[in-house]
């Protein structure tokens, strides 16, 4: 069995990542899951959160918003709305996003899709802050 698999992270505006990875952890709709090479075919919705992977000596962490993961034995593709590496994250901007999304949430009923979208935005922004600054105490 191969000891690594192709990991790709794709957003509508770019291909953020394409490399051979050995390990991947991602936030699935039903909880976090880990992927190792040779995983069975698997398709999951993704929540906003943090993806971490290991490729050789390199360990990477990426904040993602909601999306999809398609997993095969030798290939995993994450299709997400937006994703940022640690270097790209601007915590000030993320905090603003939270304030904005909270304001939006107030204007909508809880079963409105816009409410869910705002909640996802908050989760994404929080993931960015956590990734940059470490877990909040």
């Amino acid at each position: 069995m191969a000891d690594n698999f192709l990991l790709e992270i794709i957003t509508p505006s770019r291909k953020l990542l394409s490399l051979e990875a050995e390990e991947l952890t991602a936030p699935g709709e039903l909880g976090e899951f880990g992927i190792l090479p040779g995983h069975m075919h698997f398709f999951s919705l993704l929540r906003a959160g943090e993806v971490s992977y290991k490729s050789g000596a390199e360990r990477g962490r990426i904040a993602i918003s909601t999306g999809y993961a398609e997993v095969g034995p030798d290939k995993t593709i994450l299709l997400v709305d937006s994703a940022m590496t640690e270097a790209e994250i601007d915590t000030g901007e993320a905090r603003e996003a939270i304030t904005e999304a909270e304001a939006k949430m107030k204007g909508h009923e809880e079963d409105d899709p816009a409410y869910k979208a705002a909640a996802d935005d908050i989760e994404y922004a929080e993931a960015r802050i956590t990734l940059k600054e470490g877990p909040s105490k």
């Binding site: 794709i10 957003t11 509508p12 505006s13 770019r14 291909k15 699935g28 709709e29 039903l30 069975m40 075919h41 698997f42 398709f43 999951s44 919705l45 999809y68 398609e70 593709i77 299709l79 709305d81 899709p113």
Partner: protein, 292 residues
């Protein structure tokens, strides 16, 4: 018969026009390059998405999700993507003509329009058609947000059974020189019969896939997203096409202007020479007359 001064003035004015068209061509070229980069960046996502949806849709029956099922009714929503600004050759004309053809095919009473781009709105608002909504096309980098808004609106109408079908007309970017207006069906999402068989055959070989949380939930989440992505891609293609069309149009305008300057300059020189000759003739004949 225009005098020397008149011709001179015209040459000057054509030169000014040429400067403008040249500048516009340059700007369009720069924007085109950016728009092209955007398309290339969006392509992997859109393609992957299409792949996922077609494999999912072929596995599940049309009844499993309302966006897959066709109601068979005649009411059609048409999203027409045009540009905000003119001076881009036949770009908008072709799109509007295509839309008109489509409407007469479907029966224009059955079609309601959703317009992106001011040019389309300017044309259709004076005609007797139903317009659902309209918004300007943000020309260099269309935002995903705006595609999403349009998608949500159209999906809402489709699910609310106010529309039975949704199509989109936009200009597909082939190269800087060619852009083709295309009509594409967005909803219902049922794959074409041929596609279904093909992907079905592939599916037979591959192993079973585990869906989390469940196939239905995945579909519910993925299908609206797919529509968004399709519209987003159409906006990107349209932006690139617009700049391509403008570049070509401005290029030929600049060339026409320099042809015109050439012929006007020739006329100017001839006229000047004629004036000089006739002046000389007068002087010579005057002095000849004095000699005798």
């Amino acid at each position: 018969m225009p005098g020397l001064k008149d011709i001179q003035r015209r040459i000057k004015s054509v030169k000014n026009t040429q400067q403008i068209t040249k500048a516009m061509k340059m700007v369009a070229a720069a924007k085109l390059r950016r728009a092209q980069e955007n398309i290339e960046a969006a392509r992997p996502y859109a393609e992957k998405m299409a792949e996922l949806v077609s494999s999912l849709a072929s596995m599940s029956s049309p009844e499993s999700h309302p966006l897959l099922a066709s109601t068979g009714g005649p009411r059609t929503g048409l999203l027409v993507v045009t540009s905000d600004r003119g001076l881009c050759g036949g770009f908008n004309t072709y799109l509007i003509r295509k839309a008109e053809n489509f409407m007469s095919e479907k029966g224009s009473d059955n079609v309601s329009l959703s317009l992106t781009g001011k040019r389309g709105l300017d044309y259709f608002k004076r005609r007797n058609v139903q317009i659902i909504d309209s918004k300007p096309a943000t020309s260099v980098t269309p935002s995903y947000e705006s595609a999403r808004e349009t998608a949500l609106k159209l999906i809402g109408l489709f699910l609310g059974e106010e529309l039975d079908e949704v199509h989109i007309i936009y200009s597909r970017f082939e190269s800087a020189l060619t852009q083709t207006p295309v009509v594409q069906r967005l909803l219902p999402l049922a794959p074409e019969a041929g596609e279904r068989e093909e992907s079905g055959a592939e599916e037979g070989e591959s192993t079973e896939v585990l869906y989390e949380p469940s196939v239905d939930q995945v579909l519910q989440n993925l299908l609206p997203k797919y529509i968004e992505v399709q519209i987003y891609r159409a906006l990107l293609e349209s932006a690139a096409s617009e700049h391509g069309a403008r570049m070509t149009a401005m290029d030929s305008a600049s060339r026409n202007a320099s042809d015109m300057i050439g012929s006007l300059t020739l006329r100017y020189n001839r006229l000047r020479q004629a004036a000089i000759t006739s002046e000389l003739m007068e002087i010579i004949s005057g002095s000849e007359a004095l000699k005798d």
